[in-house]
């Protein structure tokens, strides 16, 4: 995509002012780092960081059959989500292939908001709208109406709480608040393995919130640190670890698939769950020097789907699809890293916990 066609978030000038390095990502011009990925990573693990994730998409689902519609389209048991609740799901095709992974937020009885991956937003919207006519429901693209800031780290709640007009929602809950003078949605969710919140705010209020967060001491963090943080705690990334060609059981996401709800793809997911998948997404650490990367083959079958150097563990880490009989922790793997075979060891997920270090 040519640079002049890239979308910009409402915080574009803030990123430039903070020394952000802007790169194309999923059709957007996004900050990959400011001071450095490692510093930003550590800031989130030990203090508080703020990420502009305004490239994420939003889809509103409302109407008398909003819950029935989502129960049909999302993999989790949507009926178990209370008003003010948040729930992770995958969106599956009929054959169980993963179209996207996403959070749904129940804002009111028959009113939900879904947050999509930027690269999948148009596809998700078309998929949901194509299935909407069977239900009394409106499915509306709200991506232009929201910027999104993720405030993450052990100090995130205290920092945001001091700027808010009331208590923050617990983990996996959502509520309306005024933060730094701006009305917004506070979501008790994140993608770093740390406590924190995500703020969904109208684009014209985003800069005021961003400025207040930085003034209160939050470290601006880019997508580079977001990727290393999520990989240390083994959260899958769509386009790397999740794809239409593989299902949620293979990806280790069976916990958010409730086949009894009859969601689209449930039969295929059930069949894989019962028979056992041919391959599984495992976490690994390189045994020695080197860093495996997405696309590196696993000797004997399989492939690396994400890889980086873990800033907290100091070794190459990643996730890979491997034959199911190679998926147990402590299994030794060999990974072809650009022609050089590197030894790796299958590890339990997550790779990083507070107790690891």
């Amino acid at each position: 995509m040519a640079p002049e066609t890239l979308l910009r978030t409402p915080l574009h000038d803030r990123h430039a002012a903070a020394g952000g390095k802007l790169v194309p990502f999923a059709g957007w011009e996004m900050p990959v780092q400011y001071e450095g990925i490692r510093e930003e990573h550590v800031a989130v693990r030990t203090g508080v960081g703020v990420f502009d994730v305004s490239h994420m998409g939003e889809i509103e689902v409302r109407g008398p059959q909003a819950q029935e519609f989502l129960q049909r389209t999302l993999s989790n048991d949507v009926a178990r989500m209370p008003v003010g609740g948040a729930q992770y799901s995958v969106l599956c095709r009929d054959d169980g292939g993963v179209l996207d992974d996403l959070f749904a937020y129940r804002l009111a009885d028959r009113h939900h908001l879904i947050v999509t991956n930027a690269s999948n937003h148009g596809k998700d919207l078309a998929w949901l709208q194509a299935h909407a006519p069977d239900f009394d429901v409106d499915v509306v693209d709200r991506a232009p109406d929201f910027a999104m800031l993720a405030v993450q780290g052990p100090r995130a709640r205290a920092l945001v709480g001091a700027l808010a007009d009331g208590a923050l929602p617990p983990r996996f809950h959502v509520c309306q608040r005024v933060v730094a003078g701006v009305p917004l949605l506070v979501c008790g969710t994140g993608y770093t393995g740390e406590d924190g919140v995500e703020l969904l705010v109208a684009p014209d209020g985003a800069a005021q919130v961003w400025d207040a967060l930085l003034a209160a001491g939050a470290t601006p963090c880019g997508l580079g640190a977001r990727d290393t943080l999520r990989l240390e705690v083994c959260y899958p990334l769509y386009g790397n670890d999740l794809m239409e060609e593989r299902g949620p059981i293979e990806a280790g996401l069976g916990w958010c698939c409730k086949e009894a709800t009859g969601f689209i793809g449930a039969d295929a997911v059930r069949a894989v769950r019962e028979a056992g998948p041919a391959e599984r997404l495992v976490a690994f650490a390189i045994d020695g020097p080197g860093i495996a990367r997405q696309g590196n083959p696993v000797v004997g079958g399989g492939e690396v789907t994400s890889g980086t150097l873990s800033p907290c563990l100091g070794v190459g880490i990643g996730m890979a699809y491997v034959p199911a009989d190679c998926a147990a922790p402590d299994t030794r793997l060999e990974i072809d890293v650009r022609g050089r075979v590197r030894a790796a060891i299958v590890k339990p997920k997550p790779l990083y916990t507070k107790e690891t270090t």
Partner: protein
């Protein structure tokens, strides 16, 4: 090194490598521009001493957290020494790309190739 720096006494390859030529030997490294584009270098995978390198061909890899990049040989020769200190401190490539962050020393096999390298002004004009 926070500000762009390009020493006058080095010769430059358009793939953002530098060479310091002393007699029939040369020291190779990557430029400020290259290390800035990479971000923090976390791993340097050097070739072994004795390995032959060929001008314009990759001879090593440097990795940042985010990506891996080939390092291109600015001149041809045989590697006589690698910067062993980079194994434990690859971020020296960021902190001091023309000093402690040097990569390899090479005995040149075709010193005439030096004519094809850029001087500092030509390299800086390439960066725009």
């Amino acid at each position: 090194m926070a500000e762009p720096t390009y020493p006058d006494h080095l010769r430059y390859h358009p793939e953002h490598d530098w060479a310091l030529v002393e007699g029939d030997q040369a020291t190779f490294g990557i430029t400020w521009f290259a290390q800035d584009a990479l971000g923090e270098v976390v791993f340097f995978d050097p070739p072994a001493a004795g390995t032959t390198v060929t001008k314009d061909q990759p001879y090593a890899e440097v990795e940042s957290v985010k990506a891996v990049s080939d390092v291109i040989a600015p001149l041809s020769g045989e590697i006589v020494e690698v910067n062993a200190a980079l194994a434990d401190a690859p971020d020296r490539i960021n902190d001091d790309p023309y000093g402690a962050g040097w990569l390899v020393k090479v005995r040149l096999t075709n010193p005439a190739e030096l004519d094809a390298l850029l001087d500092v002004e030509a390299y800086k004009s390439l960066l725009g």
